[in-house]
Amino acid sequence: MTTYIELKGIRKTYHPARKVSVEALRSVDLEIKKGEMIAITGVSGSGKSTLLHILGFLEHYSEGSMFFETAISHKLSATEMAKMRNQKIGFIMQDFALIPYRSAYENIELPLIFAKVPRKDRRNRIRVLSEKLGIKDLLRRKVNQMSGGQKQRVAIARALINDPELILADEPTGALDRKTKHDVMALIKSIHEEGKTIVIVTHDPEVAELADRQLHIDDGTIEYGVCKL
């Protein structure tokens, strides 16, 4: 497998106003191969979400260098980061990150709107994907009228709609009951089997077991990794 993402010496320091600086990541080195599925575990405040945010171009790192398909030689602008999020990455969040008073269709459509996909193509792509994920009947329903499992399926559809190479999932099953969790895990597994690169942040060993590789992060440093044989 070829190297898809590489982080070298990544540091992230927060400088809250009138408070002591916090170092969330301390010299993180990480290589992710194309098509790989990685689980990142760690206690609350260990820096796993920060790492996910940096991988997902949600925020800048303070120091270090990053390779994402190609070497990133400069600090990306807000627009360039937005384009990366839109074109290259899909996000699945614990709280679903959906607009509750909009329909599933409108939520799934957002990345396509920002990618300037024509209306007709948007409709076709949403139809095809919703059939595949079994949420066709939910498209017109408002998100706040759905169950947790339905919401997460809609969130997964939104993450996949622009056909990104990388899926970042932050505790994707954290807000779900046991049965729904297994459904969502199966869905994530099938996405991985289609060749997508997936990074999951989780506390749940059962979810972490799905991954090809597990990384444990503690106090902003990657401590060890476990590879599936």
């Binding site: 949600l58 807000a78 384009k83 999020r85 839109n86 709280d95 990150a97 709107i113």
Partner: protein
């Protein structure tokens, strides 16, 4: 595409957009009326000061007695400290189409008065037969029209002046405001507002000559505009005149006229500014609260947009920009509505006039209120990192 996203948001939030448009409409019409009110109240003093009339003394002879006026004029002219005495003249102009009263300004001080014009330009002080007509005449004449009319004075004074003369006048422009220095009636509390009176069908004419080139002389007005010598003050001349005419009601210094005018209008101006302040304060409160609430209540939605691939700044703009759209739409509706109200009464203010300068100032005022009401939370929202919204711990 981002613009269409903003438009999409406007469409989705049609109710708040409509409410804000109505709010903007009310603010714009109110601001327009305030600006108009201030302009109308300050207009006469501006004309007065710009023409230097504030340095003159005014004697208004009240009797309908022309020989008496002539003898008073002679007395005033010979008074120590009086440099010059000016009067306008009055006559009647008529043609088969129209007639009007002509107030003829022949003297330097009177010709230096610059009334606001709705159209055209100020008459040439050294030219002849150029007239400024009330705006109503705009329906009949255009600027530059040459009109042949009959001129007659109203007069019973000099037999040789009662004859009717044919004159050819040229329309130099149209007056914005009907108040001109003509036909004042004097009394003790006489002020600037009484010196300039709104007289229907009255035009201001410069240096009238008939078609043979002879000066056409109208009836002398009973208003004497007195210029003191350089080493005499207005008050000295004023006091000397009061001694002669034995009444303070007929003699007024320019300074006193202005002073009394502001005393008369103090309360009106205070009310205008108090109302304007209240409206500004209310608008700011509504806008600040509205912007804050919309940015808070839609923070989750903005974070989803951010995640889906637009910069955070654009997310905030998509929430805030519809407010400016509502401002523009409300402003346009307000101005169109005011334009259509020309000639009608609103809030007991006679004759709504539409002036581009008012429109511009209104827009500036309302835009400033919107900026102050929206910018603080816009800026603070842009500075806040949306990433915090995705943190669980």
């Amino acid at each position: 595409m981002f613009d269409s996203f903003v438009l999409r948001n406007i469409r989705r939030d049609w109710l708040s957009t409509i409410i804000l448009t109505l709010f903007s409409f009310v603010i714009c019409t109110t601001a327009y009326q305030f600006i108009r009110g201030v302009d109308r109240i300050t207009y006469l003093s501006r004309v007065f000061f710009e023409s230097g009339l504030n340095e003159k003394v005014f004697y208004i002879y009240q009797e309908d007695d022309v020989p008496g006026l002539m003898s008073e004029l002679a007395v005033v002219q010979n008074l120590e400290g009086v440099k010059d005495v000016e009067q306008y003249r009055i006559g009647s102009l008529s043609s088969d189409k129209v007639s009007c009263t002509a107030v003829i300004y022949d003297t330097p001080s009177l010709k230096s008065i610059r009334y606001d014009l709705a159209k055209g330009s100020q008459p040439n002080p050294s030219g002849t037969n150029e007239i400024l007509l009330p705006i109503e005449y705009d329906l009949i004449f255009d600027v530059g029209d040459e009109i042949t009319m009959s001129f007659s004075n109203f007069d019973l004074v000099f037999d040789n002046l009662t004859e009717v003369r044919t004159v050819q006048i040229r329309v130099a422009g149209f007056l914005k405001d009907p108040n001109v220095l003509a036909f004042p009636t004097s009394y003790a509390k006489f002020s600037l507002g009484h010196l300039f009176t709104a007289t229907p069908n009255t035009g201001i004419l410069y240096n009238l000559v008939d078609i043979d080139g002879n000066k056409a002389i109208g009836e002398l007005s009973s208003t004497l505009v007195i210029t003191p010598e350089d080493n005499y003050s207005q008050n000295e001349i004023n006091d000397a005149l009061v001694d002669i005419v034995r009444s303070k009601s007929y003699v007024h210094s320019g300074e006193a006229l202005v002073e009394r005018y502001w005393v008369e209008n103090d309360k009106v101006l205070f009310d205008i500014f108090a109302d304007a302040l209240a409206v500004t304060f209310l608008s700011l409160s509504v806008l600040l609260a509205g912007t804050y609430l919309s940015l808070i209540s839609r923070r989750k939605e903005m974070s989803v947009w951010y995640l889906s691939g637009i910069p955070w700044k654009n997310c905030v703009q998509a929430v805030v920009f519809p407010k400016f759209f509502a401002l523009l739409f409300g402003f346009s509706c307000a101005m169109i509505w005011l334009y259509r109200q020309i000639g009608t009464e609103i809030n007991y203010m006679i004759d709504v006039s539409f002036r581009w300068s008012y429109v511009l100032i209104t827009f500036g005022f309302v835009a400033a209120v919107f900026l102050v009401g929206v910018l603080p939370f816009y800026v603070s929202s842009i500075r806040k990192s949306p990433v915090e919204l995705f943190r669980k711990d």
